[in-house]
Amino acid sequence: MKLTRRALVAGGLAAVGGRAVARAEDALSAAVLAITHATPKSLDGIAMTGPDGPVHLTNFRGRLVILNLWASWCLPCRREMPSLSRLAAALAGKPAVVLPLSFDRRGLEAVTEFYAELGLTNLPLLAGDTANLQAVNVGPGLPATLVVDAAGLMRWSVTGEATWDDADTLRWLSGLLPAA
């Protein structure tokens, strides 16, 4: 059987994908990468669209929001998403929510495919808008994860790939949960 260029590219991507899953466990703890923001910033202007239309950050007042900016074409984003899913599971029932906000040209279709590929079922489908992201000026590059307090203010951020379900990160985020 002749090995085509397409097969080689597909094989290469598969190999990269396989390695990427293994490397996800090596990413540093989000807790140690976290950057503190002494001047909290409102992210209410950030545009999000879900399957049923616009979603506003104000809908999540009273909860700690872990807002992950990502894209299905961004390899580090793909690698860290399973740990965000596990984080969402760990935070279930607590006043907190994990919101992955995708920046894909294909919008929610790309997100749906990616979640299905990885078997992720506990994360919301949300698409962002690149021009809006630049307008609200929330940090360079993807992935970036912004930790927004119960009042809607960004208090912490993590730029780049991180592990989101290790003991240090769970303890750190638990300490940020609003009082019951």
Binding site: L28, A31, V32, L33, A34, I35, T36, A38, G175
Partner: protein
Amino acid sequence: MMNAPISRRHMLVACAVLAAVPSAFAQEATEQPSRRFMMEDAATGNVVDDDIMLGKVSLLYFGYTHCPDICPTSLVQMADVMKAMGDDAKKVQPIFVTVDPARDTSAVMREYVKSFDARIVALRGPAPYTDAMVKAHKAQYEIQKPGGDDPLLYTVDHTASIAMVGANGALLKRFPYGIATAEMTAAVQAAVKAIPAAP
């Protein structure tokens, strides 16, 4: 004079000297970014380099004195670890590096760290030197200027974890903000025990 400002010429001369001396951390140079640095010790006004960490376990924190809550909490914790270490504290080098050298003069830094623990070495340097040290230790910071009339009215976003560097210069661990002091102390004690005995 104790509080003489550090000049660019001093830095450049010291840099040339440092470059000619084999680094204690050279063994990891091929795998990790160099962690050599050169900064002003706010207590003396002297230029110091990574030799102050040599043979000790160092706790390194990047922050600034106008930091409203995270930095004081972290420095209190650093001081608590030093107290808990007892005699072994002399094998630990706590370091506070300002990411805001414009406002954090040596006099400000000196007084600031004293209020936590006089053993904390306060380092400051010109922005490029600070940037190099921050980058080498995989930390980040960014000045947030809100605009307005007062150019000195700003805050700095910065990595909140405390880095622990081993006696050989290897970055051993980063303690996240909010970690229990007992847990941090135990890790520092273990690192101190692992310091090779002097020949």
